[in-house]
């Protein structure tokens, strides 16, 4: 839908500013009460979810025009969705996240492009990944691993690594560990290797919705081609794309879909994954936006007056994946979980999303540093998450700030507990 | 007024025209009562109704008079109403009608001359009680006390500094009549009553709270001609307790614990001299009584109201008892040498006969200000230093600590008593108090009611406040006819 089509959402905004705060009954301190990185960092109302909507309203009402300044404000936003969750505590008739997406599509349509994002899109077009790394080397990360070639060897489970796990050398051990973990549980696993491509989620969020659709089509046909009945991804971004975005675009993957944390929970439940080694650590869990509120399933499109839309069709952020990773963590002997103040549907973003890492790296780093502080405030030794984008930016932030905090992917801890690895230098080997 | 403008007899005539000849006097004897330590006024007028007051103020504007409103009977002790030479005293103590009492809404509408005793007599049969300062003198005006922001003895009913004052009618120095709070209008009082109103909302009208600038103004802004005051229900069960302690810190700790959850009704701390003086007829008896007292006594009461009054007192006794235990103090049910009845009277009644401060030795000086309970020990140190410097016997200084605003701050009062015939003692007390005020202010004491010489102490510290206050004064009393020379308005008018 075009920006214009969201007029009622936009003019529904009462300007209550709830979208700048953690839902109020969960405000636990002065320090960690804010939820929106964009307006917390930049302060002008325009940077909030509400502000972006009002800018949209102003433009569609012919009161102002899209220009570089406005474009930059629209894109200085992780699209983390915290504003959407907070607004929906009160409102049934505003889909704030949809408006933010429509604003970006509007920018692209109007030719208001962010140079760094153009590079990403070029890279995607050229090499099917957001980094512009050679397509042919996409499967290199799995070299020597005991996995099937999904295209041809018909695994039961297709493992989708995603762009960052495929190419980020610093995270290579992590994703390899994830695969080893699954294999150790006897999962019949395959990867698409060089045939894997971007899920298309990033393109969608940058406003290139058409591009995104191509990748979705590509993914759907690849999954079909493998004959796998289960799709597991270790990347939260990809998971949100598969679980929410694809159905929204009308694309059916036709397989059972799991984020790796969900799959580990299932394996552990079935007794196939045995987490027995003690990992004595006080940890805190970071809910990736794309695993949490943004992965909430698509509920169909409501055509009429949203004030009358059934609540079941309202995305509230409550149906994200929150319990699975916590359950896995709790099942690891020795792990003690302390929660941060901002969790689940109202978690603070890592900072990397929405194209911010590419276009405004210092803002991304600031956002991550804020989360690191929150993690430290719990007294935890380690911050655990399950998304390569979060992992990467947190590790960089810890290095940058010198914070005394280890950062792990959940699979790393599980790997150690399963007796398949050891923790060394803040990562599992 | 033609032909006689400016002459005293002309003025007298004009005033008599407004209030009747019997209500104007220039008898020296009568005027002396008002002079206090100030100068001799020219005349006293005794209006009997609000409309006369407005006329009087308008006349004052035309004739450039200086009006000094007085509501209580003598002696006029704080200096707020000590006149400049030639002033016209507006004595409102004759306006003593209780215009309305309302049991359901717990409120009385009264004129400025109504005294505490009078009001108590009127409302107690209704099952209500008057919120009052500790042992006011018999002829103290309820409205004057509220306008002076005198602290009341039940901190839990002192929500904000203007309590228990609610709505007022005031004649500003400009001669204009104004009503504050929900009395402001629309509608006459009668119309408002017919619609179920009771003049209980102290705020407004609209976007200012002009009653707050009339309060604390010592009559420099205008004259209040009637007001509503908040009343509370008379307890059906009531018990009194005493904490007798040498360690003031423990009493302060206890106070914080029980004031916060609004457990106590009356709640105040007295040192042995203040307690003894309040409960005796003179210095000698006081000295005997003081010997029996602990250095400090905290007096509190627990109350039960209409529903299960005894049960309320009983559970509070346990809860407060626990707080006492934690603070390391032991509640007792009596104090030595005094029948309990006397203490109840002290809490409940205005002074009968002579004002208690006067009873001690005839003359006295006092110094009081606002601080917080936890700052009291520091203030005691500062005061102790001053007393030492002036060789004033410490044990003969009364100390009264009255928590206010639910315990968020407190009124701290020192009393020095002397024989008025003893010029040395009087001068010494005077000098001591002057010095103490400055030292205490340096230590953070807040002279919220800056009478007489304290005005200099208080206002020299807040030039921005002074500037704003003068603006307000210009607005409400442009002719400068109200009680000249007071507060920070020396140059005004």
């Amino acid at each position: 839908m075009a920006l214009q089509d969201y007029l009622r959402d936009m003019e529904g905004c009462s300007r209550c500013s709830s979208c700048k705060w953690v839902p109020f009954n969960q405000v636990k301190s002065w320090r960690f009460a804010k939820n929106c990185p964009s307006v917390t960092r930049h302060n002008l109302h325009a940077f909030s979810g509400s502000g972006k909507m009002i800018m949209g309203l102003s433009m569609v009402s012919g009161r102002s025009e899209l220009n570089d300044t406005v474009t930059e404000i629209i894109y200085r936003c992780q699209l983390c969705g915290a504003c959407d969750t907070a607004c929906k505590v009160y409102r049934d008739d505003i889909d704030l996240m949809d408006v933010l997406l429509a604003l970006r599509a509007h920018c692209v349509e109007q030719g208001q492009l962010i140079p760094e994002h153009m590079l990403t899109i070029d890279a995607l077009k050229r090499e099917d990944n957001v980094f512009g790394e050679p397509k042919a080397r996409r499967g290199d990360w799995a070299e020597g691993l005991d996995v099937k070639d999904a295209v041809g060897e018909k695994p039961q489970v297709l493992f989708h690594a995603g762009c960052r796990y495929s190419y980020d050398p610093d995270l290579r051990e992590t994703v390899r560990g994830a695969v080893r973990l699954l294999r150790s549980a006897g999962v019949d696993l395959g990867i698409a290797g060089a045939d894997e491509a971007c899920c298309g989620g990033r393109a969608f969020e940058l406003g290139y919705q058409g591009e995104s659709e191509n990748f979705a089509d590509d993914m759907v046909s690849r999954v079909k081609a493998t004959g796998a009945s289960v799709l597991v991804t270790a990347c939260s971004d990809c998971y949100a794309a598969f679980n929410y975005l694809y159905p929204r675009m009308g694309k059916e993957l036709g397989v059972e879909l799991y984020h790796i944390t969900q799959y580990l929970e299932k394996l552990a439940g079935e007794g196939r994954l045995r987490l027995r080694q003690r990992v004595p650590k006080l940890v805190t869990w970071h809910d990736p936006c794309h695993l949490g509120r943004k992965s909430e399933p698509f509920t169909g499109e409501w055509k009429g007056d949203k004030l009358l839309r059934p609540v079941t069709m309202k995305r509230t952020g409550k149906k994200g994946v929150y319990d699975a990773p916590r359950n896995v963590l709790k099942s690891i002997p020795g792990i003690e979980l302390v929660e941060m103040e901002r969790i689940k549907g109202y978690a603070w973003c890592c900072g990397a999303g929405g194209g911010v890492l590419e276009a405004f790296p210092e803002f991304a780093a600031w956002t991550a540093a804020e989360r690191i502080e929150e993690a430290l405030a719990t007294g935890a030794e380690a911050l655990v998450t399950s998304c390569p984008w979060c992992l990467r930016i947190f590790r960089d932030a810890v290095e940058e700030t010198g914070a005394l905090l280890e950062v792990y992917d959940l699979t790393e801890l599980a790997l150690v507990s399963a007796g398949e690895g050891v923790l060394a230098g803040g990562a599992a080997r | 007024m033609a032909g006689k403008k400016g002459s005293k007899s002309g003025l007298r005539e004009a005033l008599a025209g407004l209030v009747g000849p019997d209500a104007v006097s220039d008898s020296r004897e009568e005027l002396e009562v008002y002079a206090g330590a100030g100068e001799m006024p020219a005349l006293v007028v005794r209006p009997s109704e609000a409309a006369q007051v407005a006329e009087l103020v308008r006349l004052a504007n035309r004739e450039k008079l200086n009006l000094v409103p007085v509501s209580s009977g003598p002696p006029h002790i704080h200096g707020g109403s000590w006149p400049l030479k030639g002033s016209v005293i507006v004595d409102l103590s004759g306006m003593r009608r209780i215009l309305r009492t309302d049991r359901r809404n717990k409120v009385a509408l009264i004129e400025p001359g109504v005294t505490f005793g009078q009001l108590q007599e009127a409302v107690e049969p209704l099952g209500l009680r008057v919120l009052k300062p500790l042992m006011p003198r018999a002829n103290k005006s309820v409205i004057a006390s509220a306008l002076e922001r005198e602290p009341i003895t039940i901190p839990k009913y002192h929500w904000d500094m203007n309590d228990p004052l609610l709505c007022t009618e005031v004649v500003f120095g400009s001669g204009e009549v104004f009503r504050t709070g929900s009395a402001a209008g629309p509608g006459t009082l009668e119309q408002q009553w017919a619609e179920g109103h009771a003049q209980k909302n102290p705020l407004g009208p609209a976007q200012s709270d002009l009653v707050r600038v009339v309060q604390g103004a010592q009559g420099t802004m205008g004259v209040v001609t009637w007001a509503t005051v908040k009343l509370e229900v008379k307890p059906q069960a009531r018990r009194i307790y005493f904490l007798r302690e040498s360690d003031l810190g423990k009493l302060i700790d206890f106070s914080y614990r029980v004031l916060r959850p609004k457990q106590t009704d009356e709640h105040l701390i007295l040192n042995r001299w203040a307690l003894a003086c309040m409960l005796s007829e003179g210095a000698e008896e006081a000295a005997r009584l003081a010997e029996k007292q602990a250095p400090y006594t905290l007096i509190y009461t627990l109350s039960g109201y209409e529903y299960f009054p005894q049960e309320r007192v009983a559970y509070l006794e346990e809860d407060v008892g626990r707080a006492a235990q934690v603070s390391g103090v032991v509640p007792e049910r009596e104090i030595p040498g005094v029948p309990l009845q006397r203490v109840w009277e002290m809490l409940d009644r205005p002074c009968s006969g002579r004002y208690w401060k006067e009873r001690v030795r005839g003359g006295w000086r006092e110094i009081f200000f606002i601080t917080t309970l936890d700052r009291v020990p520091r203030m005691m140190e500062v005061m102790g230093e001053v007393l030492k410097r002036h060789a004033w016997p410490r044990e003969e200084v009364g100390v009264y600590i009255q928590p206010m605003q639910l315990g968020r701050n407190c009124h701290l009062e020192y009393g020095l008593f002397f024989d008025p015939e003893d010029a040395d003692a009087a001068a010494k007390a005077e000098g001591l108090c002057r010095e103490a005020a400055a030292d205490l202010a340096d230590a953070g004491a807040f002279f919220s009611r800056p009478y007489g010489g304290w005005a200099e102490v208080a206002y020299s510290r807040c030039p921005d406040t002074v500037k704003a206050l003068r603006m307000v004064k210009d607005m409400l009393d442009p002719g400068g006819v109200m009680n000249r020379g007071k507060l920070c308005f020396q140059e005004v008018g």
Binding site: L308 | F178, G187, E195, Q199, G216
Partner: protein
């Protein structure tokens, strides 16, 4: 007037990222649809927005405005049309960078805060030390400083925690000429513990029942009274609102009471006030609950007369009352008194703590006032018949008056059907006085609803004057002109205060000191006559 020059100076002062005059960015301050009867819902666009971070910067911003003939309008959170500019040359001062809790003095029960601390933040921190802050009914998104210094100030907890204006101690106030005025002890010793004096209290010119709405300068810090909180220091809740799940904390009691008629309700309320037992008390109707909890269902039963009258009449006089006791003994006593009073007045009391899910859903909506913004659910917007508070009896009568006015509009389909009786009824300070406003719901996108807003406003104003009440929206220049002569010409004093503190008239003070005439064209002449009549009848 040099806007360009001023903008340059702002940038110099605050840095580029804290100043903007980008039209779309400015429109984020011009979109003020709440409590905005203008169908357009945009207010004037400011000429710049600035984000100062300290008192000194605020002073400098104000001085720049004075120098360049600009006006300023500040806000803390900026919810409601009263936050927007009313002149063409207004600089919007967004105070969100001033967001610190400067101090909590737990012993003396106050907190010193800056403008952009919200109610939820302050409450969370206060509770950690056994204290609580008054939160206005609008919700915890609002700034306690804004309500106390500049807005209104009623909340569900007013029975225990009073009215925002009465909770002030020391105040730091940047006057419209850029000078700082510090009220009470703050001005004398830098301490915060008292706000009045020496001598006359300048709180009296700072605000009244309503604040100056930025028309008298900018408040940069204030000390606010905190109150006892015997509940848990941190609340353990799962869920974000109506889905909340929690255990009933120790010594907390929560009841819904129902009374058979207005007299029984009012009598019981007087008794409850005198018993001094409540921590939180809000009387409303089932219409009040259901339009926010089940708005869709509600719209379906619109005009279904039998269901409607059943609900209206059965649950009309509902009181929610919360106890936060200091001991089990105290709670037992409070509950016993409640039962006695309710019984005596023919009502019944439902112990909500026994219905855990219901308790969980409503607890924070009372303690933190998290629920009110749900009022937008039914029609997308609402307004309220808000009038001067006084004795409870007068407020109970007001409720009926507005219900009747609303019924007419509901029948004609000009506002939504919330059962008409939708009061926000709250006693202050153990019912020393009492508040009742009556909410009405509308859909701002529906032209029929939009057209009705002005007539309703007028009807409510007439009714208020008739009932000897000052309409609380006297911030509206038209109401000011109408009411001021009936209430001591207060407008004249406000204008004098404005001139005195603001010689160059740099504050955007329309909502404080301007007067205007009603535009009666299009309003039926009978109504206009009635207005003139009641005005004449209500002079003193």
């Amino acid at each position: 007037m040099s806007v360009e020059e001023a903008r340059r100076e702002f940038v110099e002062l605050l840095g580029e990222e804290n100043v903007s005059w980008e039209p779309a960015v400015l429109d984020c301050y011009a979109w003020q649809p709440t409590f905005n009867d203008d169908p357009d819902r945009w207010v004037k666009r400011p000429v710049a927005v600035v984000l100062p971070s300290s008192t000194e910067e605020v002073q400098e911003v104000v001085r720049i405005c004075n120098r360049h003939g600009l006006r300023f309008k500040s806000f803390s959170t900026g919810w409601g049309a009263w936050n927007g500019p009313t002149f063409d040359n207004v600089v919007q001062v967004d105070l969100r960078r001033m967001d610190r809790i400067v101090e909590i003095d737990a012993k003396n029960m106050y907190a010193v805060i800056e403008p952009y601390v919200n109610g939820a933040q302050l409450q969370a921190e206060a509770m950690k030390v056994g204290l609580n802050t008054h939160i206005i009914g609008a919700g915890p998104n609002c700034s306690p400083l804004a309500s106390a210094t500049s807005g209104w100030g009623v909340g569900h907890d007013s029975i225990y925690m009073s009215y925002s204006a009465r909770n002030l101690l020391g105040v730091e106030w940047v006057l419209p000429d850029g000078e700082v005025l510090r009220l009470g002890t703050l001005g004398s010793s830098g301490e915060w513990f008292n706000g009045d004096g020496p001598g006359p209290s300048l709180r009296g010119i700072m605000r009244g029942s309503c604040g100056a709405l930025s028309g008298l300068g900018i408040f940069t810090r204030c000390a606010l009274k905190l109150y006892n909180w015997p509940g848990p220091p941190e609340m353990e809740i799962d869920g974000i609102m109506l889905d909340a799940k929690m255990e009933v904390p120790e010594n907390i009691g929560y009841y819904m009471c129902f009374f058979p008629d207005r007299k029984a309700f009012s009598d019981a309320m007087y008794k409850l006030g005198e018993a001094e037992i409540a921590y939180n008390a809000l009387a409303t109707s089932f219409g009040g609950y259901f339009d926010i909890l089940t708005p869709r269902l509600f719209r379906k039963i619109e005009h279904a007369d039998s269901i409607r009258s059943m609900i209206v009449n059965t649950f009309k006089y509902t009181l929610a009352i919360l106890f936060a006791a200091n001991s089990a003994r105290e709670l037992a006593y409070q509950e016993k008194v409640l039962h006695a009073i309710v019984r005596e007045h023919g009502g019944f009391a439902m112990d909500v703590t026994r219905i855990k899910d219901f308790f969980s859903m409503l607890f924070m909506s009372f303690v933190r006032a998290t629920i009110p913004a749900l009022v937008f659910r039914m029609g997308g917007s609402f307004s309220t018949a808000l009038d001067r508070n006084d004795a409870l009896d007068s407020q109970a009568a007001w409720r009926e008056v507005v219900r009747e006015i609303k019924e007419g509009y509901i029948r004609k389909g000009q506002i939504l059907d919330d059962l008409a009786d939708n009061p926000y009824f709250v006693p202050y300070e153990n019912n020393t006085w009492c508040h009742c406003e009556v909410v009405y719901q509308y859909d701002p996108r529906d032209p029929k609803h939009r057209e009705a807003l002005e007539p309703i406003f007028l009807d409510v104003t007439i009714a208020a004057i008739e009932r000897c009440m000052e309409p609380l929206f006297t911030s509206d220049p038209r109401v000011r002109r109408l009411i001021s002569p009936l209430a001591g010409n207060f407008s004249k004093y406000q204008q004098a205060i404005s001139r005195g503190l603001d010689p160059k008239q740099a504050a955007d003070n329309t909502l404080y000191s301007a007067e205007a005439d009603f535009d009666f064209s299009g309003i039926d002449p009978q109504r206009v006559r009635r207005l003139q009549e009641v005005v004449e009848q209500r002079r003193w």
